[in-house]
């Protein structure tokens, strides 16, 4: 929700305002944002009912398998994806890589994901996102991380999960962490809020605001590990505003059918009969990785400060 400026003193046609940046995330709610690597995949995603696409070079499962440094996608490919679909196009920059972010803004992408899925460019600082006209989404594992990112200017948050695993367990953990943190704030007396802000490593004003709202002050999607319609509906029932999905679609037997089913499951997340119906006959899901199989230093969710 944004403040109302009813006195008419604001300039005519003001672009890049907080209302406009956080507002686009409001429009994405109840929807599915799909990773796409090629214009053809973008077309499939749009056809399946995606509310936006995330243009990237490789889906996280392939980044994980290939190793090496993962960077912003080729502007050529991002440009072709933007020409192919009419829905919003997001793209990822590396954590702290402000020039990749500037390039993406210059390309005209609709949202930038400052993402732990790419190899971080800065191990201490994130991009100062208030300085941009284009809105940013950032990952979090808990309330403190979410509020630090919002403090830096993120207009949308997603829980990180563990991308490219097809395993929902980390997404669930992070979403529950965020809500636990919010409920804790609401139970605290006012005179303990500053100490709690210090504990969270989060800006005091945002801590207060979150306590008043009873939710994050921006839209919060779930990401990282969604592989089935039931996974997507689970994240919605746990309080996500929408869902990101990538590897879970493309590493399955029938990506188009699965993408379509996940869209339906997000709309009807409270209706198990419909989720059952749309989950029929989708073929094999992504095989998935148990968290214990991943060496500690290869966990993507740990990136971000």
């Amino acid at each position: 929700m944004v403040r109302q400026d009813g006195n008419g003193s604001a300039p005519e046609n003001e672009t890049g305002s907080w209302s406009v940046k956080s507002g686009l995330a409001q429009m994405l709610k109840g929807g599915v944002i799909m990773d796409v690597v090629t214009p053809d995949q973008a077309k499939i995603a749009e056809e399946a009912g995606a509310c936006a696409v995330m243009a990237l070079e490789r889906v996280p499962a392939d980044i994980r398998a290939d190793g090496g440094v993962a960077r912003m996608s080729d502007p050529e490919v991002i440009g072709r994806i933007m020409e192919t679909v009419t829905i919003p196009v997001m793209a990822k920059c590396r954590i702290g890589h402000l020039v990749e972010a500037q390039v993406l803004q210059a390309l005209g992408v609709d949202y930038i994901d400052e993402s732990e899925v790419l190899t971080p460019a800065d191990e201490r600082y994130h991009v100062h996102k208030h300085a941009f006209k284009v809105p940013f989404v950032c990952g979090c594992r808990d309330l403190g991380e979410a509020l630090r990112r919002i403090g830096e200017g993120a207009a949308m948050i997603r829980t990180k999960g563990e991308a490219g695993t097809g395993n929902i367990v980390e997404a669930v953990r992070h979403m529950r962490n965020v809500w636990d943190g919010i409920r804790r704030l609401q139970a605290l007396p006012e005179d303990e809020l500053m100490a709690e802000a210090k504990e969270l490593g989060a800006p005091y004003d945002l801590v207060r605001q979150t306590r008043e709202l009873g939710r994050l002050p921006v839209v919060n999607f779930a990401a990282g590990g969604v592989a089935t319609p039931a996974d997507a509906a689970l994240m919605m029932q746990l309080g996500a505003d929408g869902v990101f999905v990538g590897s879970g679609i493309y590493k399955s037997e029938d990506p188009a059918a699965r993408a379509h089913a996940i869209v339906q499951a997000v709309t009807h997340y409270q209706d198990p009969k419909i989720i059952a119906e749309v989950s029929r006959g989708l073929g094999e899901p992504m095989r998935g990785i148990d968290m214990n199989e991943i060496p500690e230093e290869e966990l993507l969710a740990k990136r971000g400060w």
């Binding site: 109302q4 604001a10 046609n13 507002g23 409001q26 929807g31 009912g49 005209g108 869209v263």
Partner: protein, 221 residues
């Protein structure tokens, strides 16, 4: 505003988009708000809001869940329907860049993403006579533009360059911007009045409400 005895019931299409914001404002104004995802949830409504969101996504889900025809029929019988942004695109008779058929209820031509991409999204203060003299701070997000208004409909709001950004046709309302993203409740009040009044026995819509009726009560609280 709705009376206590017969509370106005407004459905909010909840397939995708910012339906929760509409519901919150309606409830603040004392109306009953119902989420609509399936055709049977359209029963007993005085009005229906189609929220902002992604018009291609909502369009697909309207087809998928067989909501298109029932909504058309109810609108034909006098149900008030208001579309904000994506919803306005879906209400338009002519939306050439929408890849599925929409509701085609309003005699307007609408163009998707007409102002550009997200970096071109903007806020502007509009003068809207049916809402009273206070300007209305409107948020436009990858917004559509109403390129022409046919004889059945009328323009309600324009940008300073004359571009039409809100239109009305009887009890149908289209806004290219998002009143649900601001604290200004006047547009929702206006829609509640449209929904509660003017339903005649034939289901036809009375044309009287547009010209400032009741505008004295529409100042900001």
């Amino acid at each position: 505003m709705a009376g206590k005895r017969d509370m106005t019931t407004i459905g909010v299409l909840a397939l995708q988009g910012d339906f929760a914001e509409h519901i919150a404002i309606l409830q603040r104004l004392g109306a009953e708000a119902v989420s609509v995802r399936l055709p049977e949830q359209l029963d007993g409504l005085d009005g229906l809001i189609i929220p902002g969101g992604e018009s291609t996504t909502i369009g697909r889900l309207l087809h998928q869940w067989k909501l298109l025809e029932p909504i058309r029929e109810l609108a034909g019988d006098g149900l008030a329907v208001w579309g904000t942004c994506a919803g306005a695109i879906l209400l338009a008779e002519r939306a050439p860049d929408l890849d599925r058929e929409g509701l085609k209820l309003m005699d307007i031509d609408i163009e998707r993403n007409a102002f550009g991409r997200q970096v071109d999204s903007f806020e502007a203060s509009l003068s809207i006579s049916v809402l009273g003299p206070q300007p209305f701070r409107a948020v436009f997000i990858r917004a559509p533009r109403i390129n022409s208004v046919g004889p059945e409909a009328e323009a309600l709001a324009r940008l300073s360059d004359g571009t039409v950004v809100a239109a009305r046709q009887g009890k149908l309302l289209a806004t290219a911007f998002h009143p649900e993203l601001t604290d200004d409740e006047r547009f929702h009040r206006y829609f509640l009045e449209l929904s509660a009044n003017g339903r005649t026995s034939s289901g036809r819509v009375e044309q009287a409400t547009a010209a400032g009726e009741g505008s004295a009560t529409r100042d900001l609280p």
